[in-house]
Subunit: 340 residues, 2 copies
């Protein structure tokens, strides 16, 4: 028996069941009234044949696509899988489905991915960040579908935004550190042109220090490689170079954890001699010898809220919308930010 290369169509189910295509379609979509008898006939035929509906044709005919485009910089940074899981969980309540596109932090790739996704005419877009190329912003505006920019609220959204203010987060951490009595502060993070949110945190941070007449004493930026190892290396180098430092602020928890491991290895008193803090509240790191001070960026919640906005606007295009939802991150002092 040769395999049938042609995929099955509604017509095949119609013929197999002796019911019109139209009614078969109704049964398969649970739409309109269909008698129990024909309903079973149709479902049996469909199952027996192994029919899988063709959403392409369905979408074209109905002008509706139950997909939500989610555009994020990376899947390897744990932050985004967490946002994704918030989105998925929320969309599971609806008949919408998330589809992920990854930009690798590159504006040109973002543009390309966005174009590709929009060409499938999704019901909505969730996209990380507020910084996009002009072309990307134009596409988003012209798409006519709900767009939620996530993670960040420092800027003007195309449509609406859900996130935290990274500038504010930087300020909060700066204040907490000063208040604990640290003044000789070093900073380590990713190369920032790539990462607007890290940049904004840094700006908020230095702003608060400046107000108290404190300046960052040393700084170092990295890109690529294992973050844990990088954190170790950079920390070792920085303490060598600037031994008087009494606090190290890291732009993410992974390098912070690397730094923490180095400092503990050296037998340095934490947080007495040196305090440390990171950013993101990575659960992954819960088993470390000490809990790194950090700040929760509300990742899952951001995903949920963004998805909820899309869902409500799909259900009712005139639903009222807050254009910016700013969540409030909280500092977790852990074991590395308190003068003994």
């Amino acid at each position: 028996m040769a395999t049938e290369p042609r995929p099955l169509t509604l017509r095949d189910v119609s013929e197999a069941s002796g019911v019109s295509e139209m009614t078969v379609s109704r049964v398969l979509r649970n739409r309109g009234d269909v008698s129990e008898a024909t309903r079973t006939k149709v479902l049996e035929a469909a199952k027996a044949l192994g029919y899988v509906p063709n959403k392409i044709a369905g979408a074209l005919a109905s002008q509706r696509v139950n997909l939500v485009a989610v555009i994020i910089p990376s899947l390897r940074n744990m932050v985004f899988p967490e946002v994704m899981s918030g989105i998925s969980r929320e969309l599971e309540e609806t008949d919408l489905q998330p589809v992920v596109g990854v930009t690798d932090y590159m504006p040109e790739k973002e543009e390309k991915v966005l174009y590709e996704m929009l060409s499938w005419r999704p019901s909505g877009v969730i996209i990380a960040g507020l910084e996009h190329s002009d072309a990307s912003r134009a596409m988003l505006k012209a798409s006519g579908i709900p767009v939620v920019e996530i993670m960040d609220t420092d800027g003007t959204p195309v449509d609406c935004a859900v996130g935290i203010s990274h500038r504010r987060a930087g300020r909060m951490m700066g204040r907490a550190i000063l208040k604990a009595g640290y003044h000789q502060i070093g900073f380590m993070g990713t190369k920032m042109p790539l990462d607007h949110r890290a940049r904004k945190r840094f700006e908020g941070f230095t702003e608060v220090l400046a107000k108290e007449g404190v300046e960052i004493m040393d700084r170092e930026f990295y890109s690529g490689g294992s973050a844990l190892a990088k954190g170790r290396e950079m920390t070792a180098a920085m303490l060598e170079r600037t031994p008087e430092l009494d606090f190290l602020y890291y732009s993410n928890d992974m390098i912070g954890a690397g730094g923490l491991l180095h400092v503990l290895d050296q037998g340095i008193d934490v947080p007495g001699r040196i305090g440390l803090a990171g950013f993101n509240g990575v659960e992954l790191l819960d088993g470390l010898p000490r809990r790194l001070a950090t700040m929760d960026a509300c990742r899952t919640e951001i995903g949920r809220r963004a998805a909820r906005i899309i869902a409500s606007r799909v259900a009712d295009p005139d639903a009222p919308v807050e254009s910016v939802v700013e969540l409030t991150p909280t500092i977790d002092f852990g074991d590395t930010l308190e003068r003994s």
Copy 2:
């Protein structure tokens, strides 16, 4: 000026440029010969209008969809983002695009996700594991598109498979441990009904030990929570319970790292008094105080090879195919597997 709610169509571009729809379509797809003059006219009109083609209509008309469905258990386990990046990098050479579906390790959800994705008529499927429900296998078979089952080669693929033999991996590690002189062995891992590959490694592992008359002395399984913290807790509990253990084999690197941190904290001599090994070669952990012995599961390579198979079969349906590509993992002894 009211915003136009209707998305633009080819016809709009055609009218704006004074060129027939067909020729506009040709320009936009770079197909067939079009004079330079009309080409520019069309491109200008399209750009000016902000036209984004409708792939749904295109796919329906051409019966071709340049999507590859990638179905994986989770995005939060670093293994899968790594596989994804292998897939993406390979597909970037083609005009195919990956689309991810997540099953949360649940067969019923796998079935649902698979059905949803197949209903978009993708050009191929890459799916994790060889264990699927009958319905899922039936769908895959009936789809008539190339299907690559990844990660695992211990079993019979629907179409073809790329991965490693986890049974063999378990055996390799078992042999290495015995050869190093350890005999009092404890095992920690995920609850296995969820995780076939971990189960197979465990089976291979115990099989080799049994041959030498060695039996696992203690074992513990977990699910959920921070793996690092779990590894710590389980290790503490197990060493308390069974202090004579001289080796701890973990089903993944994260819990292994937790165990390692605990053991080092206790000032236990590693690998003299106790050896440890994990599985997966997680780069993330590179900055730990000691490098955990582990085994590379060839994740990126698996992604690349799988994508390459799909791409070649899309280009030529009769392309020759090896039905099973078994890659060979290598043991990395790190600093935790060698008798001093």
